[in-house]
């Protein structure tokens, strides 16, 4: 009897799978189960292919996993694409108006057609998205979950829409459920429900909540995926949280507003993704120079340039290190899960104010948008708020705002305070803020002022907890990661151990300033260091070399836009241990995805890939895959695509009979 299930819901954007996913996630969370969901959505309002996975289990889940037990397919395309992935013992749920080719079904997987129209004919005219609710009802029976909790959530969700809508939704849910009770034996799941309600949250939401708890008063933003949901959450809750939310004309304005506000004495934050962050960089240097506190969140997505707006990546570490000209104090923190988004945000504000500098929070789409249950007992509004040193008394009109102190921190004054007037200049300046940059340069003052600012980094480092090795102290491999991959690496390490490869982990949250000595001490004792990160170049691996002189034995990367998952990491770590190079050839499943792209662009979506096989050698200068295409209806052969296994090039499309 399994105590964990992964449900995949696939359809087009606009099919309403978010709503059904939300109901399922919250229902499981109310039963006291752990939930982790990830939506591989596209940057489209309607159409495209959307793939939502919900992993539900009794034990705490730290990532979206890598298996599929039940598929709810909302269109034909989804059946074709995902049915082959369903694990034995699982099921495929679909409206009877769709067809599930028995050839596609893996062994031990049940096809469960649901006659939605028949089941709901007494409920009046229903919108097409209601098929989701019927499928959810059937799923609840198959998975042994509680239909009453789901009904209760639908009641709450549609309360504002009136009795009729509630009746339709709950009626459809029950109809799907009862149909399954009558026709299907439940799958092999057994649950203990603690019924301890858990909130289901995203990383972005927890950054918003963290900012509110930390006393942030201004949030400025320009819309950019995947940071926008922070803007939406804070805008919706502005009055409750006490945070003024201002959308501005561009990211230049956004960050300069936040810095202006920080200078004037409040806590301010802004968030964006890589492209917007690039625009913000000059001002981040200004915050370092005029010693203004600011929290800047970069929710990374696939780069470079516009890149992959709706896909995840950890590709902006180098950008964060290199943001803005010259040397200035900055702090870079990468939270590792949703709960940590809350804690790291609070901490970011404290560090920003205590040391009067910019703090960069590096999150990513995976962390920002996945939904997971958190233990409500572990978050509290009772957080420490440390505002740093403020000058008291009067400056008698000669306040030395940038006083050369041992710690590097100079007590500040709030503009508006009598007698404390000063100038905060982006040019190099003296203790009063008078320029020493231009007409009257002064090398001595410049040196001491520059050292004063940079000294703050030593003080910050003292305050940051040093990283610790997680897992067994002696292990065959040590996985090193940063930010959002913590949960994936934790599970990967456990699985490696089951397979006879003991693994421990070093996870880095504070990337700058960096506990180089401590990390060196840890890693120099490790047998085989493997850095795992979601980018192409191995940016953390390079940082490790720069800060510790240690070269990781291997770097496992991922940069196709999909998040790292335990199986991906386990397979590649095994390759590393066996001395196999990372296989960069086109995989069969990838050849199939490339074929889908070709079909969409050139064949008006009127075909689908069938068999993928190794093609004849010799003609294209590289090994190839032959992908047979068949018509959507009737499965007649349409032609054959020849795809290069090394380059991924489409070498030829040979039409049937041509």
């Amino acid at each position: 009897m399994a105590t964990e299930i992964t449900v995949g819901i696939a359809g087009a954007a606009g099919d309403g799978l978010d709503r059904v996913g939300d109901t399922l996630a919250r229902a499981a969370a109310r039963l006291g189960l752990s939930v982790f969901t990830y939506n591989s959505y596209q940057s489209l309002i309607r159409g495209g292919h959307t793939w939502l996975r919900l992993r539900i289990g009794e034990k705490k889940l730290t990532n979206h996993g890598d298996r599929l037990d039940v598929l709810i397919a909302l269109n034909q395309d989804s059946i074709e694409r995902h049915v082959p992935e369903v694990a034995s013992g699982g099921a495929v749920l679909f409206n009877t108006k769709l067809e599930c080719d028995p050839d596609l079904l893996p062994k031990g997987v049940r096809a469960v057609p649901i006659p939605v129209a028949d089941l709901t004919k007494d409920l009046g005219r229903l919108p097409p998205v209601m098929q989701n609710t019927a499928a959810l009802g059937a799923l609840l029976h198959l998975a042994g979950l509680d239909v009453e909790v789901a009904a209760e959530i639908l009641h709450e969700t549609f309360r504002h829409k009136g009795e009729e809508i509630i009746r339709q939704n709950v009626g459809t849910l029950r109809a799907g459920y009862e149909h399954a009770v009558k026709t299907e034996k439940p799958l092999d799941f057994k649950w203990k429900f603690s019924r301890k309600r858990r909130p289901v949250v995203t990383g972005n939401q927890m950054i918003g909540l963290g900012a509110a708890a930390a006393g942030c008063k201004l949030y400025s933003a320009y819309p950019m995926s995947p940071a926008s949901s922070i803007l939406h959450w804070l805008a919706t809750h502005s009055e409750k949280t006490g945070i003024v939310v201002k959308q501005a004309e561009d990211e230049l304005a956004v960050v300069n507003m936040a810095i202006g506000a920080g200078h004037a004495g409040i806590r301010a934050m802004c968030a964006t993704s890589g492209g917007g962050f690039a625009l913000m960089t000059e001002a981040i240097g200004m915050a370092g120079m005029i010693e203004a506190p600011v929290v800047v969140v970069n929710v990374m997505r696939g780069g470079p340039s516009t890149g992959l707006p709706t896909k995840t990546e950890q590709g902006d570490l180098n950008q964060a290190f290199g943001a803005s000209q010259g040397d200035f104090p900055r702090v870079i923190v990468a939270p590792r899960d949703a709960l940590d988004c809350y804690e790291a945000t609070v901490e970011a504000f404290n560090i920003a104010e205590e040391f009067q500098l910019p703090v960069i929070l590096l999150s990513d789409l995976y962390l920002a948008e996945h939904r997971s249950t958190i233990d409500a007992d572990r978050v509290s509004p009772d957080v420490k708020i440390e505002r740093g040193e403020w000058a008291n008394g009067t400056g008698n009109g000669r306040f030395r705002r940038f006083r050369l102190t041992k710690s590097g921190v100079s007590p500040r004054a709030r503009p508006g305070t009598p007698g404390m007037m000063f100038i905060a200049g982006t040019d190099e300046h003296d203790e009063r803020g008078v320029l020493v940059s231009d007409e009257h340069t002064n090398a001595a003052i410049r040196r001491k002022m520059h050292e004063k600012r940079m000294r703050k980094m030593d003080e910050v480092l003292k305050r940051l907890p040093a990283p610790k090795l997680e897992g067994p102290s002696k292990a065959k491999v040590t996985l090193v990661g940063w930010g959002s991959t913590h949960g994936v690496l934790e599970e990967a390490a456990a699985r490696l151990e089951e397979d006879g490869i003991t693994a421990n982990r070093l996870h880095l949250k504070y990337l700058y300033p960096f506990h180089g000595r401590k990390v060196k001490e840890i890693l120099s004792k490790c047998k085989r260091t493997i850095v795992v990160e979601a980018n192409y170049a191995g940016q953390l691996a390079r940082h490790l070399r720069a800060e510790t002189g240690i070269e990781a034995k291997h770097v496992v990367t991922r940069y196709d836009g999909e998040p790292l998952d335990p199986d991906y990491v386990v397979q590649r770590v095994k390759d590393c241990v066996a001395g196999r190079a990372q296989d960069l050839k086109v995989q069969k499943a990838e050849a199939r995805e490339m074929a889908y792209h070709y079909i969409r662009i050139h064949l008006h979506d009127e075909a689908r890939p069938a068999r993928v096989s190794k093609g004849a050698k010799g003609r294209h200068g590289e090994p190839v895959f032959d992908v047979e295409l068949v018509s959507r209806k009737g499965k007649e052969p349409r032609g054959r695509l020849v795809i290069g296994r090394e380059t991924g090039a489409i070498h030829a499309y040979e039409e049937q009979g041509a």
């Binding site: 502005s238 501005a248 300069n256 004037a264 301010a268 008698n396 508006g416 100038i423 200049g425 982006t426």
Partner: protein, 296 residues
């Protein structure tokens, strides 16, 4: 040495900064600085309630020359920095200053959006039709045909009409001054600072070193006072637009436009509890539970 006091400054001497301006002798910016100080004295605003925010350029050095709070920010970013400070503490008198390159070139986007936002902000642009600090390149207001270091065959781009842009963008106070007309300039500044909403004063402030075309003499031959115009109505947008585009033989000085419109600060419900700087930090347990409870 300036003595700290809570009372408003009585003379402009009280507003003297730490250092003497490093502008070239004869620079138009001296007149602007003087008028700004005179306006602050006239309005009886205590200097610690004033925050002067500038960008980068010769004129953007101004905050260093006035005894008030100041931010000498980045090129083109005076407006958003000023906006942030104003949102943090809307009891401050926030005055943004800078040059034509700073405000109408690299910073034009912020400039226009701040106007439509109608913040209670005064923006003084010292317009010398040239880039001075970088030693004489063409600027957004450089006249056509003007030979500069970057346009040796003469500028071929049409100069920007800042006042027309301001009117179109929704500024509620639009004026033009001339640094050689000290009395009028002081009066315009006092009105602008007292105005509730976004005020722009474009000030002809000749660059004696790098602009040999738009000299004091050049302006003196062309400018006239709008106040002397019979029947000019500064609440009439079309009349103001017509005046804002007047250029060449005759160029108007004075207040082109002033109307009342709700300021951004009035529309923000959280400001009803006073400036954000005085708000309590953090969340109470009930609110926190309510916010987190939405996700169960």
């Amino acid at each position: 040495m300036t003595i700290m006091k809570d009372a408003p400054e009585r003379t402009i001497k009280d507003l003297e900064g730490d250092v003497h301006p490093d502008w070239c002798p004869g620079c138009g910016d001296f007149g602007v600085l003087k008028s700004l100080k005179e306006a602050i004295v006239e309005l009886k605003i205590p200097s610690h309630e004033v925050l002067v925010v500038s960008g980068i350029g010769c004129s953007s050095n101004l905050p260093g020359f006035i005894h008030a709070y100041g931010v000498h920010s980045l090129h083109g970013r005076a407006i958003p920095v000023a906006t942030g400070a104003l949102l943090a503490n809307h009891k401050l008198r926030v005055i943004a200053v800078g040059g034509d390159g700073d405000g109408y070139g690299i910073g034009i986007g912020h400039c226009l959006h701040a106007m439509r936002r109608n913040l209670n902000l005064t923006y003084i642009v010292m317009d010398n039709e040239i880039y001075g600090l970088t030693t004489g390149q063409t600027s957004p207001t450089t006249t056509e045909g003007h030979k500069t270091k970057s346009t040796p065959r003469g500028n071929v781009e049409k100069p920007i009409q800042p006042l027309a842009l301001a009117l179109a963008a929704g500024a509620t106070f639009v004026a033009r001054g001339f640094s050689a007309n000290q009395k009028q300039l002081t009066e315009l500044m006092a009105q602008a600072i007292a105005h509730k909403g976004f005020s722009l004063i474009d000030v002809f402030s000749p660059c004696v070193t790098f602009n040999k075309i738009n000299t004091y003499q050049w302006f003196k031959e062309r400018v006239y006072d709008l106040d002397a115009e019979q029947g000019y109505d500064p609440t009439d947008l079309s009349a103001a637009l017509a005046k804002s585009l007047e250029w060449g033989e005759r160029i108007p000085l004075g207040k082109l436009y002033q109307v009342e419109r709700p300021v951004y600060e009035d529309t923000e419900p959280l400001f009803r509890k006073g400036p954000l700087v005085d708000h309590k930090l953090g969340l109470d347990k009930a609110t926190f539970d309510e916010l987190l409870g939405e996700s169960t």
